[in-house]
Subunit: 226 residues, 2 copies
DNA sequence: TAATACAAACTTGTATACAAGTCAAGAGAT
DNA sequence: ATCTCTTGACTTGTATACAAGTTTGTATTA
């Protein structure tokens, strides 16, 4: 487990949740790894309570398996969940961007434009981490513009299954293309052009195809055998 | 709060979660009502810990609002969330039943047939409660057949917002029509007819339209004022 | 009367103690 | 050597104690 800095503004519970989640996505908590509430609690410098609450939440999202009185494990990567994530993203992102075409206010569009400008800025300096953050934020903003923020929270939760695979594959999605896609999405929303919006979202999602066969060969111990 | 019987098989946490959720849906815990972890804990006969974990989870689903050191309240009915639930159900149910047309096994179909037969049985005895349970189970089985069980869990969570409105409106959806709809859905899946499936799901969902204006006039204290 | 101060009774957040179950290592008997 | 039993160190589940903050009612004072 990798240490994560705690913000002053967050409660112990929020910190524990963020730290554990980030470690699962980054595979610093490895699929299949045994974890202990006490161990994580002392590592993070908080008590069992906030750690336990976080683990319960991640258990509900099928990211941690709890065996009472025996132990808890980071869930192995299960193609079932990865495919559900891909399915959900495809169905929802399209429906939501179409909705955003109808509902986006000038303020929403201004915010999206600022985000894309920042993406272009960090593209020049090859700041992949920043672009990753802005990428997540961009998609969230579309959900907000479509008045679907709660749904976005659900999307984020299930997407962790996919993000984990992305980490393993060190998915070589060209940032250039991603940023360009976002610009096109933005224009589609500005033009209220649902057809174009749907088209570019589909193309965008297709960029993230992962060769699971390859990964399974490289990291067999991380995968659920079905 | 109405007492809920505890099953032998469930943990304190599962019991607390189920009891609180059922009370929120049935409006026995009223929108806007002040609740206390201690009060609920002693009412249910468990300690604060499992109650607290449940409240955290419901807080995440925007069904309970927590004000640290001040108190927690059952969330007022917010049309924002109700509309998100309706949107999600429409988008997902259609996509998922189409998927089920491709993926349903003979076993899945047999299970659906048994469920519909039971619905018809209870229709004769006007057992609305049983039909309600079988209804929920029927839709869940379609998600399972489409290999989208995780997504169904998310659907169920957000649907609580809608279920609460249904309770208030004592929505006079004719059970006869619901059961008939389910039979048609089942046939569409058996025939792998996506067009028919999509059509009947849309018609089915339209039966649940609620006149929010009316409700707002009758129960103004239950609604969020935006 | 009205304003202020204060104490008591609440709230949730966090830490810790205890209960109950699992599992593995090791002693001892066969 | 092998089987059996036991013990102890773990696990999570639950209960409780304490910390920190808010609110409310009630004195007390101007």
């Amino acid at each position: 487990m990798r240490p994560i800095e705690r913000y002053n503004s967050e409660t112990a519970r929020e910190y524990a949740m963020r730290a554990i989640t980030e470690n699962i996505i980054s595979i610093d908590l490895e699929p299949g790894q045994l974890i202990s509430e006490n161990e994580i609690a002392s590592f993070l410098g908080v008590s069992r309570t906030p750690v336990r609450e976080s683990i319960q939440e991640l258990n509900k999202a099928a990211l941690i398996a709890i065996y009472p009185q025996r132990g808890s494990y980071v869930s192995l990567i299960d193609s079932k969940y990865v495919e559900e994530a891909v399915f959900l993203r495809k169905v929802l992102d399209i429906a939501v961007i179409e909705e955003a075409c109808d509902l986006a206010t000038p303020e929403d569009i201004a915010a999206l434009e600022e985000n894309v400008a920042l993406q272009e800025f960090y593209l020049k300096s090859n700041n992949t981490k920043k672009i990753f953050e802005l990428d997540n934020e961009f998609h969230r903003m579309i959900y907000v513009a479509a008045k679907k923020e709660t749904i976005h929270n659900m999307r984020r939760t299930i997407m962790i299954h996919f993000d984990r695979v992305r980490t393993l594959s060190m998915l070589a999605v060209k940032d250039t293309k991603i940023v360009a896609d976002h610009g096109i999405m933005l224009n589609a929303i500005k033009d209220k052009d649902k057809t174009k919006a749907k088209e570019i979202v589909e193309k965008h999602l297709d960029r993230y195809r992962v060769d699971q066969e390859e990964l399974l060969k490289t990291y067999p111990q991380y995968f659920e055998t079905n």
